[in-house]
Amino acid sequence: MSQVPTNGGGSGARVELRELVRIFGRTRALDGFSLEVEPGELVALLGPSGCGKTTALRALAGFELVDHGQVLVDGQDVARVSPQDRDMGMVFQSYSLFPNMSALHNVAFGLRMRGVRSVARRDKAHEILELVGLHEHAEKYPHQLSGGQQQRVALARALAIEPRVLLLDEPLSALDAKVRTGLRDQIRSLQQRLAITTVFVTHDQEEALSMADRVCVMRDGRGEQTATPAELYSRPTSAFVAHFVGVSSRVPVRRDGATVGLWGTAVAVRNPELAERDVDAVLRPEDVAIAADPAGAATVVHKSFLGAITRVTVSAESAEVRVDVRSDAARDLNHGDRVALTVVARDVLVSPRNERTDVDED
């Protein structure tokens, strides 16, 4: 395997995955997956279990050899380069610290492998540990650190080698909620400060939307949609993305040209290129407004208090629609009340009737 020259480290590289195919037996874990990551950008790979996100990350790291396709780093194809020569730092889900080494030696390990002299690597390791706030724990062994601390050491270890690309494989999933939020902010802040190109695998949409510059939603080994978190939420291009990212309801409607009729109102269709006439309108909870109306066509079936807002589920003809209502206004709505529904969105996404959107979460 050939050696890849480094770009001096630290500054982010441009990453491009082109038409990756990886087959395990009868399963196509990657089925023509493509992705572009700009220098210094953080892209999250988000998707349900078995969608191929970890395989894509491992193909980028060099731990999976792809059956077809190219892995380009700064324009150079590294698909056949061994992991140790790719100059990428990786943080794993299961901490992966070397149990026989102290935190300091764990962080210095990559520098040692690069032939950095003892004093220099010690100084650098201390510096990076200080960066992640663990300077005082430098001499401790992994079993003496908490889960959050171990993962911060793992992050420091990956950053110490000044990688061209930082790869994060569900690094927060083994941590409790409070630690997860803190470390999430810390990772994002460090990534932006060091401007390292980062690819982050997660099945947690909140994590992906709050950390990433762009999110790639994956399904069946392919990229379903890659967009900024705001765009992904407000302009999903498929019912699958709408269903996976955020909350959505599907209402069967009949399309009339570029509009659909929803509870007596004609609403513009966002994707009029769809050929079918019988379709499902995909609605976010904030796309619909409700008002108490004894003659209304819908009935309240459930209420979930979420703080400032309450999510009200109503049964309207053949569909259940979830609607966000200000909690003070929702107080007067009770199970079985009749309500009227109004679409407040400018346009709606439509998808083929009963299109599969099942997502088996990890």
Partner: protein, 274 residues
């Protein structure tokens, strides 16, 4: 006044627990007697002379006995060559199987059990019939046989050691940090497999230092063979040698385990001080 300590009745063991403790003591005592009585008998016999008096003559006479030094050093040589051969063969194989061919673990388990199922006498006779002359003339044929003989114990020790760590992730972490295969093996895997390797080594040394059948049939006078043969000349000296051999093996094993423990303790203390 409220009692702050539990009453005597609460502290006193229940009759059932008391009975359990008595039975535990009896079983432990029987097991100790089973091991210690033959040892005591052996030691008592070896520290007596033919007249039935206490004597150190057997101990003093050992180094001057014909064939003892050769047998002793041959056993030591075979023990260490077997140890090296076993570790060189089994450590990389077990790691490779765990990392790349996990589906073959069952097969390897089965293969490594065979030396227990097949009697050593069958193994050595087959090998002596098939081996080339130059190999038959060398005592190291025994080392090769001992590598097979120790395989069940060595594989299980290593397998347990590897299963206790997340080998795949550690290897991937090491490689992503720039380490190549040998560096990963030396700096990451082996230090974390220390307990497994130590246990495998202890079992190998103990087994080889006490092996009689194969050495005897291959006509090499190792320490157990010498003890057996010398028994007919002087029972006191032969018993003394077998007692010393037993104690020597035990000291060696204890030293290896203590070395490992003190190393772990030193690492832990270093971290705690920090």
């Amino acid at each position: 006044m409220v009692a702050l300590t539990p009453s005597a009745a609460a502290v006193a063991p229940t009759p059932r627990r008391h009975r359990l403790r008595v039975w535990r003591g009896i079983i432990l005592g029987l097991a100790a007697a089973y091991f210690l009585i033959p040892l005591y008998a052996g030691l008592r016999f070896s520290f007596h002379n033919d007249a039935g008096q206490w004597s150190l003559y057997a101990l003093k006479a050992i180094p001057s006995q014909i064939g003892f030094t050769g047998a002793f050093f041959l056993s030591i040589k075979l023990a260490f060559t077997t140890l090296i051969g076993t570790l060189v063969l089994m450590v990389p194989t077990t790691i490779y199987i765990h990392l790349h061919l996990p589906r073959l673990r069952r097969l390897l388990e089965f293969v490594t059990v065979l030396p227990i199922v097949i009697p050593p006498i069958v193994l050595i006779l087959g090998v002596l019939r098939a081996a080339p002359i130059w190999l038959k003339a060398s005592p190291y044929l025994l080392s090769l046989m001992y590598v097979i003989l120790t395989m069940p114990f060595v594989y299980r020790s290593l397998d347990a050691g590897i299963s206790a760590i997340d080998l795949k992730t550690l290897v991937e972490a090491s490689r992503s940090l720039g380490a190549n295969g040998p560096q990963t093996l030396w700096r990451v895997i082996l230090p974390n497999l220390r307990a497994g390797i130590l246990s495998a080594s202890v079992l190998t040394l103990a087994l080889v230092l006490g092996e009689f059948t194969m050495a005897s049939l291959d006509l090499w006078t190792t320490l157990p063979v010498w003890i057996y043969q010398f028994q007919q000349t002087d029972g006191h000296i032969a018993t003394m040698v077998s007692m010393l051999s037993l104690i020597g093996t035990w000291v060696l094993i204890t030293a290896m385990v203590s070395l490992d423990r003190s190393e772990s303790r030193r690492s832990r203390r270093k971290a705690e001080v920090a």
